[in-house]
């Protein structure tokens, strides 16, 4: 049959690569013959040949002695696919289409294997294929593909590089843990692969960032789905540990990526993951010096970096939708009716299950609240630069009153979500950290709350404690705010009713 013929040809290829080096002339001749003899001359034959080769390689892996050479076929297949990325004439299909076809076929073979009843699915050969492709490509692209002597092809490959990585990422997204749990551990390993992750982070103009964020969010969503209160499976714990370790790696090498994308990560991160939250928000730009956050005399007005606007890669305005107009209008000219619209708009239509510390479901649109808070912060920062800091470090400014009123009129849950979102902006020294510290400190000591004062203070303290009772790191801004609250003259934390009614908290505060 046709398939059997393809099996034979592929087997010949595998044997050839065991006898000569991959850049031997014989290899080029073999590939040439494959095209000339119709094995790879058009889309249909490419699809059928590749499908047969993938299936045979997976079969070979499963049939191999596990202590022996299990990847011989897969390694040869990856070499074939990569070589064809370079040497083909691309008449019947383009290079972009070729890559898509290859990944499509692999995904089909993969999903069929994964979904079989009584499946013998093993993620390793698929992982190996992806890893090899990354490795071969990495080797090829060195110094702008200098190994490619044909200048036209070299130019094409340079332009194709971006497409290569983003397409790879988009297919990895398809086989994410929620969809194919049998590939979960391979997924995380590929996401963090040394030939993938740093390359995605380094692509020109941050062009890999969006797709990389999608993958990290895929991982978080999987964890969120299965991190309930009723015992966490060992496997999920291990997934979590791997995710944590990868994020720490990113924080070390590319803190700016975590900084600029923190908003999207906070939306996807499971609410109870307090340490991982801190790790992400404690990322510091490489050249910044951190003043001592425990210093009583610390004055952010005097710190130059506290005037700097942090870059936000994903504009929260996108998530405001129809909310943008009332929010922006309010910031320009505050009015009660606009405030009413905003306050009424933050509630969800239905309850949603979402586990956090102290709650099991939410009735507030958390994403919208976060978007509003960050947008207000961004606008405040821009205003400060345009006019003066006095315009925003002012409890009468519309930036402040919008948030104040949201808290004043909102339910306890709204208060919690708004304060939580504000506290997420307390990071390394920058204008957002500076302004939100001002806002939270003012709100904590304000007399404008009336009867609500006690609850507001408690929720602020709750949010602070939730961030600092966990193991380090702690974001600089959170420590600064806490230090400032501990040293207030007009409010003694230990005498607050909310503290007194929880002796364990009282004890911690006494020690501090």
């Amino acid at each position: 049959s046709e398939t059997e013929k393809y099996y034979l040809i592929f087997t010949e290829w595998v044997k050839l690569l065991q006898k000569v080096e991959h850049d031997d002339e014989l290899v080029t001749v073999f590939l040439r013959q494959m095209v000339d003899r119709g094995v790879l001359s058009d889309t249909d034959s490419l699809i059928n040949f590749c499908k047969a080769s993938f299936e045979l390689s997976i079969l070979a892996f499963k049939a191999s002695d596990p202590t022996g050479e299990v990847f011989v076929s897969i390694d040869a297949l990856a070499m074939l696919v990569t070589k064809l990325l370079v040497v083909q004439e691309f008449e019947d299909y383009s290079r972009n289409e070729y890559l898509d076809i290859i990944f499509c076929i692999l995904t089909m073979v993969f999903s069929k294997d994964h979904e079989q009843d009584n499946s013998t699915f093993n993620e390793r050969p698929y992982f190996r294929f992806f890893s090899n492709i990354l490795s071969e490509w990495s080797s090829l692209r060195g110094h702008d593909f200098i190994k490619i002597t044909d200048q036209q092809i070299r130019k094409e490959l340079i332009e194709f590089d971006n497409y290569f990585y983003n397409t790879f990422a988009s297919y990895l997204h398809l086989i994410q843990p929620v969809a194919f749990p049998g590939f979960s551990f391979a997924f995380i390993t590929l996401l963090s692969h040394r030939m993938f992750l740093p390359n995605m982070l380094r692509l020109e103009n941050k062009s890999g960032w969006k797709n990389l964020t999608i993958l990290i969010i895929d991982l978080f969503r999987f964890l969120d789905q299965y991190t309930g209160k009723v015992g966490i499976s060992n496997a999920i714990s291990v997934v979590y540990k791997g995710a944590l370790r990868v994020i720490i790696g990113i924080s070390n090498d590319f803190p700016e990526y975590l900084i600029e994308n923190h908003y999207e990560f906070m939306n996807a991160l499971p609410s109870s993951y307090a340490q991982l939250k801190n790790v992400m928000l404690a990322a510091i730009p490489k050249k910044i010096m951190l003043p001592n956050p425990y210093d009583n005399g610390l004055d952010m007005d005097k710190i130059d970096s506290c005037k700097m606007q942090p870059t936000v890669f994903y504009d929260p305005v996108v998530d405001l939708h129809s909310f943008k107009k009332p929010v922006d209008n309010y910031l320009r000219i505050p009015s009660n009716s606009l405030m009413r619209t905003i306050i009424n708009g933050v509630y969800r239509d239905e309850y949603s299950f979402k586990s956090g510390i102290g709650y099991d479901y939410v009735s507030v649109d958390q994403k919208l609240v976060r978007a509003v808070v960050l947008h207000v912060g961004v606008e405040a920062g821009l205003e400060s630069e345009k006019t003066s800091s006095g315009a925003i470090f002012n409890a009468k400014s519309s930036y402040y009153t919008l948030l104040f009123n949201l808290l004043n009129e909102g339910s306890s849950e709204v208060r919690f979500k708004v304060i939580e979102a504000m506290m997420e902006q307390l990071r390394y020294p920058n204008i957002h950290t500076h302004w939100f510290t001002f806002v939270l400190k003012n709100m904590f000591t304000s007399e404008e709350w009336g009867e609500q004062k006690s609850e507001i203070q408690e929720i602020i303290l709750r949010n602070i404690f939730e961030r600092i009772i966990v193991n380090k790191p702690h974001p600089w801004g959170v420590t600064v705010l806490f230090t400032q609250l501990l040293n207030l003259n007009n409010v003694k934390l230990l005498s607050l009713p909310c503290v007194k009614k929880v002796p364990e908290i009282e004890n911690i505060l006494k020690i501090l």
Binding site: S138, H143, L197, D253, I459, L461, N471, V502, I505
Partner: protein
């Protein structure tokens, strides 16, 4: 949404309360050992780690991985490497290639011995190292030679001696001096 909700996180010795959340994920853990396993920092300096990242878990990171590297064309197909008339170099004949091996440094011989098991060159380097008074220890799988400064003490039964020897450690890739009891039937 108040402070009381934090009690399960604070009162970890209360088994009923503390069961509510998975502490590894909320309170988290001391990250020092994780940072150490990642090489952050290394020698008190901050280095990039993602380019040599082995695996998301320390348990599956037990071997180094080859990082991205680039070999310029001028580094390839260099003639006369390892005294070879053929490029790339080969060692295929015990008789003909023996002479070439006499010109190599000790470390080159050790490298070739360990790198190419079951081959002509492993045999050739074995013979040459023996000529230089190195002996191969069968159980340690390491080479050693007598420390010229110390005279060993032979045991009563004549089966071993205690002395000072220079070992070549293939893990650390260096010669090191050690006191040792050498059994004669263990070396070749």
């Amino acid at each position: 949404f108040g402070l009381e909700a934090l009690l399960p996180l604070i009162k970890q010795d209360d088994t009923e309360l503390s069961k509510k959340y998975n502490h590894a994920m909320t309170i988290g853990t001391d990250l020092s050992s994780m940072l150490h396993s990642l090489g952050i920092p290394r020698d008190n300096q901050r280095y990039r780690i993602l380019d040599t990242f082995q695996s998301p878990w320390a348990e599956t990171s037990r071997s180094e991985v080859e990082p991205r590297f680039f070999t310029p064309e001028s580094f390839k197909n260099i003639p006369n490497v390892l005294q070879s008339k053929v490029t790339p170099p080969v060692f295929n004949s015990i008789e003909n290639d023996q002479q070439r091996v006499t010109l190599f440094q000790d470390e080159t011989l050790f490298y070739l011995f360990y790198k190419h098991p079951g081959t002509v060159i492993q045999e050739l380097t074995y013979l040459e190292l023996r000529k230089r008074n190195w002996r191969y220890h069968k159980t340690l799988k390491a080479w050693l030679t007598k420390d010229p400064m110390v005279e060993p003490l032979v045991s009563g039964d004549g089966l071993s001696e205690r002395g000072s020897y220079i070992f070549f450690d293939p893990q650390r890739w260096e010669k090191c001096q050690r006191e040792f009891v050498l059994f004669y039937n263990a070396i070749m």
